[in-house]
Amino acid sequence: MNLYKYSSPVNFYPLAGRLIPWFAIPAALLFAAGIFVGFFVAPADYQQGEAYRIIFIHVPAAWLGMFLYVLMAVYAGIGWAFNARLSSMMASSISVTGAMFTFLSLVTGAFWGKPTWGTWWVWDARMTSTLILMFLYIGFISLQSSIEDPRRADRAGAVLAIVGVINIPIIYFSVQWWNTLHQGATIRLLQKPTIHGSMLYALLIMLAACWLYSVAVVLIRVRCIILEREQNAARFAEATI
């Protein structure tokens, strides 16, 4: 069996269709399990009470937001260097999910900040750099959507994503330094020295659920992109299998 066969969008289209349930159903089950453990098994925090429970979605969303940007840049870079269409399609498909998770982590962070810190938004280094990460996602998506020719959109997005990846550490350190210079570290995230066992389980289950959800959604979206760009070929492949 030749795995390279699936680097062609036309061959990947039916494979993705068959893979989606294998990710979507476990994702739904794990979301249900994670919500159950998070709400009913894990104890209330002695400092933050019930409000801390939002970390079960906030932390996985923040992790995925960061990780998906790097993954998107890797896919875009491979697509650009080896002229692999499917890789570039995966990059555009990942960008939307990554932006969604980054936005989710900002919103849930604000909801968490209000009861625990007493304010919706703090110019904390981590929050500021997450905000900038979302700007980078928006730049990538708006660049790709304003270029008509899909091949040029893929390559232009790749250049932008790679420049962004090189810049992320510089941005992160400059923001952190700016923050300590201006106001000092007033608030630390996750002050708790240790985390209760069931809290950790809930967090890990939710993280796995978010991962599986991302894979499923990215595959669904990449199928749409293949259909858009290579309509006839994809329909033909599905009919013959």
């Binding site: 900038i132 730049g139 660049l143 040029r152 250049v159 420049v163 810049n167 941005i171 400059s174």
Partner: protein, 219 residues
């Protein structure tokens, strides 16, 4: 080749002086709006002056970025330049240098005036000019990547701003940080060194990225 490109771009912008002047006036007007919006207290103005001048410089440099490659792209010169045997990054470096000379250096020269308006001391004005001298080339270099990527697109001027402004953040932080340190009576040198480091990094990498982006956009 390098000298020829710089000379040609300088001549072209000399014949379109109005463009350069309008960038300059935009810079002055934006910086003058802040006192009107915030109020005339000298203490307050002095504390926000570094940020105001730097943000105004960032926005003003956005205006001239669209022109770096667009005119040459429209009349077909850019295609000829891509076909020359000389390495493309030399062409890019020349054009970016010319853009910096015509659009950013005037901002650096007028900045002390704005600093005076906002109540900065003489010593701080020197730091402001040095930080702008180190920082504005980075703006031109990173901005040229965005200009090359958006070449010939419909809403390119708005798009350049969305792509490039997040990448400008380190320059803004270190540049305004140096001036702020000087206002507060600290040593601005660490900020200036970091700004220099960012300048060296972008000098090395961004002409290549711009060259790659140009090839993608023109083909």
């Amino acid at each position: 080749m390098l000298r020829w490109i710089i000379w040609r771009d300088l001549m072209l912008s000399w014949r379109r002086r109005a463009d350069v002047l309008s960038t300059l006036f935009f810079f002055v007007i934006v910086a003058s709006l802040f006192p009107l919006g915030i109020g005339p207290e000298t203490e307050l103005l002095r504390s926000i002056a570094p940020g105001v001048v730097w943000v105004a410089a960032l926005l003003a440099s956005m205006l001239s970025l669209g022109r770096v490659f667009a005119n040459d792209f429209q009349d077909g010169t850019l295609e000829q330049l891509l076909l020359t045997p000389q390495p493309l990054f030399l062409v890019v470096a020349g054009k970016v240098f010319a853009q910096w000379l015509t659009s950013e250096v005037p901002l650096v020269l007028i900045a002390p005036l704005l600093g005076l308006q906002l109540g900065l001391s003489k010593q701080t004005l020197v730091v402001l000019v040095i930080s702008l001298l180190l920082g504005t080339p980075v703006l031109s270099l990173i901005g040229s990547i965005g200009a090359a990527l958006t070449l010939g697109l419909r809403s390119s001027s708005v798009l350049i701003a969305i792509l490039v402004l997040p990448l400008y953040i380190p320059v803004l932080i270190f540049g305004a940080g140096a001036v702020q340190a000087s206002v507060l009576g600290f040593d601005p040198q660490p900020h200036l060194y970091l700004l220099g480091a960012v300048l060296v990094l972008s000098l090395i990498f961004s002409p290549w990225a711009t060259a790659a982006a140009l090839k993608i956009s023109v083909e």
